[in-house]
């Protein structure tokens, strides 16, 4: 029961309280780039969730089974980025095969998941928090993906409405999106301190 409690708390914490986009600024590039329409935002969120769960789990395993026992921590970043690039390649092949229309609308942003900071960032945070339990690592990675999906879908919803709004010419596009993100971050700050890790 106690373990389950920790897992649920960890999940809520990474989805809401320590949301990667609003508190750690990770994954801002696709967040600004793909949040124009809600269906694309959701597809992107799902792709990121899959990649982040896979790579979070794999990097934890590699870190604890190979790098740490043999004292190879120096190569950690190189290994992490290789795992992520491989996972993204897998997702890209899968989407091209089964959802060709989605594949076309993503364009350059799909391979760019490799350079999505949220994914590498999460792998590094798992390492930084000193998570020494595989289940916790999996739950945290999955939660990070869900948190990203939630953030990007909220943003897409707002931006679809924002298209009708009378925004000053100089703020159109990225600036107003950033300002909106700022207000969202302010709202999410209300959750701060709800749960403390560790």
């Amino acid at each position: 029961m106690h373990t389950l409690n920790i897992l649920i708390m960890g999940f809520i914490s990474i989805v809401i309280v320590n949301n990667l986009v609003f508190t750690k600024f990770l994954g801002i590039c696709p967040y600004l780039g793909v949040s124009g329409r809600i269906d694309m935002a959701f597809g992107m969120g799902m792709a990121v969730t899959f990649v982040v769960t896979l790579s979070g789990t794999l990097t934890w395993l590699i870190d604890h089974l190979i790098l740490m026992p043999y004292g190879l921590e120096v190569t950690r970043y190189v290994c992490f980025i290789l795992v992520i690039a491989g996972a993204v390649q897998l997702v890209e092949m899968y989407i091209r095969r089964f959802f060709p229309s989605l594949y076309d609308s993503f364009g350059i942003f799909l391979p760019l998941i490799t350079t999505n900071c949220a994914i590498l960032g999460l792998c590094l945070f798992i390492n930084l928090y000193g998570i020494d339990n595989l289940v916790e690592a999996v739950v945290l990675s999955f939660g990070a993906g869900i948190g990203f999906t939630m953030a990007i879908c909220i943003m897409a919803g707002i931006r679809e409405t924002l298209d009708m709004a009378d925004v000053p010419a100089c703020l159109k596009g990225a600036p107003i999106t950033l300002i909106t993100a700022g207000l969202l971050a302010l709202a999410f700050m209300g959750f701060a301190g709800m749960i403390r890790i560790g």
Partner: protein, 211 residues
């Protein structure tokens, strides 16, 4: 011959200046947003971050430029990433050894330079197509442009959040008998998003006024 070298100097100067304003990575190309937002709560970490990015950018551009004829198209992104992550590891170990306090402050954002889109974008757009000299100058221009933007953003935020720039007190805080009320939100994520958004708006106004 003289005109040839003059023309070449012109190209170099142009490449350098492009990174500072016309193609400024943050303000114009919207690249590398994550570190821009994350490390700009104060000027000191922002400056350190900028220096790390310049180092990694220059080194990886040199290597990519040297091996540009050996690259296979479908493997090139992988090669770029591996090159970049090697230099980031060097930078990270250097910071840990010589400025441990700063390394602790920047935390995971140093390794996150690997996925900084600026570096991969310059490797792809410039270094894999141009010779050594142009690549190095482009890297320096882009890096300096990035660092300057970071420092300006961090300056505004630090001033409003603590009344200081580079940890030197400029505005007298109210709790110490002055008049300035520290604006805590500026040091938090909210401040980063808002300031950058307004800054981009300002840049739009300035560049429109010119043309």
């Amino acid at each position: 011959m003289a005109s040839n070298s003059e023309a070449r100097a012109g190209i170099y100067g142009d490449t350098f200046l492009a990174g500072l304003w016309r193609e400024n990575p943050v303000l114009r190309l919207l690249l590398g947003m994550c570190p821009t937002l994350a490390v700009t709560a104060a000027v000191k970490p922002a400056f350190t971050m900028g220096c790390c990015v310049i180092f990694v950018l220059v080194c990886s551009n040199i290597i990519v430029s040297l091996m540009r004829n050996l690259l296979k198209p479908h493997l090139r992104i992988l090669m770029f990433t591996l090159t970049i992550s090697t230099f980031v590891t060097i930078a990270d170990l250097f910071l840990k050894a010589y400025v441990p306090r700063m390394s602790e402050m920047l935390g995971p954002y140093v390794p996150l330079i690997i996925v900084n889109c600026i570096i991969i974008c310059r490797a792809e757009a410039c270094a894999s197509k141009n010779g050594l000299a142009v690549s190095v100058i482009d890297a320096i221009g882009m890096g300096v442009g990035f660092t300057l933007t970071l420092c300006v953003l961090a300056g505004v935020r630090e001033l409003l959040a603590t009344g200081a720039i580079f940890e030197i007190q400029i505005l007298a805080l109210q709790k110490e008998g002055g008049w300035f009320v520290a604006w805590a939100a500026m040091g938090m994520p909210v401040g980063a998003f808002l300031t950058l958004g307004l800054m981009l708006g300002l840049v739009n106004i300035i560049s429109k006024g010119r043309t």
